[in-house]
């Protein structure tokens, strides 16, 4: 998947015209459209596991013992 993405970034053979963005404009298709749910998940897993980051910054902002 990573290789496909790197190859396709900037390629005009993938992608859509602006008038074909009907499905892509739905909330569920937008990265970052559910910030509260994502924040809850990140806080829970930051507190209980040794790893963080990836979808956002890795700093926790909490003591989380």
């Amino acid at each position: 998947m990573f290789g496909v993405l790197l190859f396709c970034v900037g390629c005009s053979s993938v992608g859509v015209e602006p008038w074909d963005r009907d499905l892509l404009s739905e909330d569920e298709m937008i990265f970052g459209s559910q910030p509260i749910k994502k924040a809850y998940e990140q806080h829970t897993y930051f507190s209980k596991e040794a790893t963080s980051g990836g979808s956002g910054f890795s700093g926790g902002g909490c003591g989380c013992n």
Partner: protein
């Protein structure tokens, strides 16, 4: 004088005025997290976004986090009762024979505030900046962040670069213990210690087709300072040659970790729209750091609309991590103390699973929505490692953790 006037005009122009917002949106939410016999957390959140002309957004969030219950203190379970001193040093608590070593004095309240501003600048460019502040009884965190994004190819490609700087002050109950000092002879470095975290985030989002979008991120995190857990111990146990081999001998060493850590996370996320059959999301993260920890995270969810307004969304998360180089289940009496040592279960080799189901209702086309999610989180490691001997072999050295998570989010 002219420069001061111009600067004032510029800053005044940039200052957000809520009354001028074209639209106000946000979320009101609450989270319940409850572990079996351990920690319970309640976390209400309110978030308000002001949208201005020109796609400018001022986003604000207030979080309250209350924690109670009992937290694992790192000591091994024993066939005999064990007595521990509380972090304040003013009292003791006793753990019964064969019981998980939980500190029952665990209690904390956290309040956090975040605010950010984002807007386009120049054609196909976006900029955002924000700050976060978080305060709890023994911890203060302040952070600033900024991200720049560039769109390419009819906005089918988005490249992003972000930076965050976080400064933390740790003020543990009873003072910050010097790593590897013992519970009965606690050496305190001072009442407060510090650490900072610098984060860089590089991302690329690509529209693959009318139905499919991909995201790739690389996150580099660099931490420096006091990173010990001030409330965790490593048990010293009697040597294999002792008649009571494996029993704790009453010596407990405070957590000691390196004062630097470099973290790397490679993250890929995919969303695919199956039309009337719903929308699937799948992501994978590979993490590695200089503490020897490697982890893999795979997540999947599928949102299916059962009517024009109602949806259900099952989700699964699989997580596995290797142990930190300095993770120990215990320390053997007579062995040389290592430079770093921690028995914090969160640094051990483990597998965690999350199963969840979300149910939600959208209220027409206004964007208003309410959702409920219930999840079960389990975490398990090697309860009987090969290093166990004597009386340790009969003990569970990595007790399983189970938690129920409930979440409600109202979006307006």
């Amino acid at each position: 004088m002219a420069l001061a006037t111009a600067t004032t005009a510029l800053l005044t122009g940039l200052a957000p005025q809520p009354a001028q917002a074209q639209k106000i949106s946000g979320n009101i939410a609450n989270l319940y997290y409850g572990e079996t016999d351990r920690v319970t957390a309640i976390e209400p959140v309110i978030n308000v976004n002001f949208l201005y002309e020109g796609e400018k957004v001022w986003s604000n969030k207030l979080v309250l986090d209350t924690l109670t219950g009992a937290s694992h203190n790192g000591a091994v379970m024993s066939r005999n009762p064990q007595t521990f001193t509380t972090p304040s040093g003013h009292s003791d608590y006793t753990i019964g024979a064969g019981q998980v070593t939980l500190d029952p004095t665990f209690k904390d309240t956290r309040i956090a505030l975040a605010s950010s501003w984002s807007q386009p600048f120049a054609e196909d460019w976006e900029f955002s900046a924000g700050f976060n502040g978080s305060h709890e009884y023994d911890f203060l965190s302040l952070a600033v962040n900024s991200t720049v994004s560039r769109y390419l190819d009819r906005k089918n490609t988005k490249l992003s670069m972000g930076f965050s700087f976080e400064q933390d002050a740790i003020n543990p109950v009873g003072g910050a213990p010097q790593g590897l000092s013992t519970m009965n002879a606690k050496v305190v470095n001072g009442s407060t210690d510090n650490k900072h975290v610098i984060d860089l985030l590089f991302g690329a989002t690509q529209v693959m087709s009318r139905h499919w979008i991909l995201q790739f991120n690389y996150n580099l995190g660099m931490s420096s300072g006091y990173m010990n857990d001030p409330y965790k111990f490593t048990s010293e146990v009697l040597a294999p040659t002792d008649p009571n081999a494996g029993d704790p001998n009453g010596t407990y060493y405070y957590d000691k970790r390196p004062d630097k850590r470099i973290k790397n996370a490679i993250f890929v996320d995919s969303k695919y729209h199956f039309g009337i059959y719903g929308i699937s999301g799948m992501s994978y993260r590979y993490f590695f750091d200089d503490w020897g920890i490697r982890s893999h995270t795979i997540e999947w969810n599928h949102r299916y609309f059962i009517s024009s307004h109602w949806y259900i969304e099952p989700g699964v998360r699989y997580y596995t991590q290797s142990a930190a180089d300095f993770y120990r289940y215990f320390h053997v009496q007579g062995d040389v103390l290592p430079q770093y040592m921690s028995a914090d279960y969160r640094l051990g080799k483990m597998v965690a699973l999350t199963y969840g189901l979300e149910v939600g209702k959208k209220f027409g086309s206004s964007g208003e929505e309410i959702s409920f999610r219930a999840q079960l989180y389990t975490q398990s490691g090697d309860s009987h490692p090969g290093s166990a001997y004597g009386n340790l072999t009969a003990q569970d050295l990595y007790p399983k953790l189970t938690a129920v998570i409930g979440q409600v989010i109202y979006k307006f």
